[in-house]
Subunit: 252 residues, 2 copies
């Protein structure tokens, strides 16, 4: 994790201060939208109920995601405003480790915001960021929301869509792809339609996928396929929901 | 509820569209902060888990709040950026029905934002909005956060603090006041330290207190005291937590 905050990682509120710092930076740079700030708050509430930690099923999901990415013919990490603000360096690192492309993909799409996000990712080491060509459409959703790059998300066999809208997650899931969703709400549609739902904070999940991918770098195609196939998405969603429903967590 | 949105109240997404419209208006007018938008998202997540409805214990709490306000010697409704954006007209109406003052009280206090919020409330019919004098301090919290009006929150015997910070709610609770908190998270400190915690969306809770106050307008002091004293805040918090923990609500 890049150390862009001037306090030690041992500080008890390090992660929440780092999150706030990155979100504020995102607003300042015009990459985090109003709706992105509200979505961030929704995520905070679910993360609080999850105990602000990577639960075992989310770790297994991250390992399955790493295996799917390493076994892919062509993989793409989709990046929206919040992902760009929260995990720019971590996304670039994951893309390098699993040899994935990065594509900016916004729900409220403007060329200006795509360019700002691409610039922000490039400041964190990304090269050849996709998303501006937008020469293909995801079938089944309305025109503006459907735009993707033909040689990016459209043709990829494995896509990571963190914090994705439910309609788009569903439409992508209906294409012939392995869809990996990162979302903190196990009850929302995006993780429910994903082949691999990771119910975790993107700030924990993205570096965790990278860590698993580094460990699996020498694994055979059979081993990778086995890890993906043995992952049980329904069980993972149930475990996450159970954790959220667990009583007596004490006060905030 | 004032009809500031050009769609019928029967529309299935009326309330969520109205909320979004008011929040966007709040941002445009400089009264909703970045932190306010994130807090709005946290509230949305808890409201979703609550079923986006006023649960019976929240309705009882609203009735107890109405009784406490009607029985008060001096009552104040505290308003921050999100309250001003979400329920400006509803707050003015409640203040009229229970004869309470309105005081702007911000966690991140700037004179400019207080004035904008006071103007916004005045556009919705408020007169004599307090909060700019700031000539008294709530004991036990740091100077900037402690500022209140001597003839407002400081001297009131009943205060309504919707969406209040935990430290301030606790410090206010330690003064000799009946504190009414409106908050969607029953696990957070603010409702836990309140005499009357209302676990509900402010957009439902504020008009609901007004409705109960109208019904109780002719009640005797004994009746009002009886309603306040029979309210069980621990039971209300438990019921709200139970509702949040209730499994299988279906998808978002």
């Amino acid at each position: 994790m890049s150390d862009d905050l001037d306090i030690p990682e041992s500080h008890p509120r390090y992660h929440s201060l780092l999150t706030r710092h990155r979100i504020e930076d995102g607003v300042e740079k015009g990459i985090t939208s109003q709706q992105g700030l509200i979505a961030q708050g929704r995520g905070e509430a679910f993360d609080y109920l999850l105990g602000e930690e990577t639960i075992p099923s989310a770790d297994q999901a991250a390992r399955a995601a790493a295996a799917a990415l390493l076994g892919a013919d062509q993989s793409v990490l989709s990046v929206n405003g919040n992902v760009a603000a929260l995990v720019p360096g971590e996304t670039v690192e994951l893309a390098e480790v699993v040899d994935a492309d990065i594509e900016v993909n916004l729900f409220n799409r403007t060329e200006e915001r795509i360019e700002r996000i691409a610039d922000h990712l490039e400041e964190h080491g990304a090269t050849d960021v996709k998303g501006l060509t937008a020469d293909a459409r995801i079938p089944g959703i309305d025109h503006e929301r459907a735009k993707v790059d033909a040689d990016g998300i459209y043709s990829a066999d494995v896509v990571v869509v963190p914090l994705e809208d439910g309609d788009r997650a569903e439409a992508l899931g209906e294409m012939d792809k392995t869809e990996i969703v990162i979302d903190l709400n196990p009850l929302s549609r995006s993780p429910q339609v994903a082949a691999i739902p990771i119910i975790d904070n993107v700030m924990r999940a993205v570096p965790n996928i990278t860590r698993h991918a580094s460990e699996l770098a020498e694994a055979s195609d059979e081993e990778l396929t086995g890890i993906v196939e043995s992952f049980d998405s329904d069980a993972a969603l149930r475990e996450a929901e159970g954790k959220i429903r667990e009583p007596e967590r004490g006060e905030h």
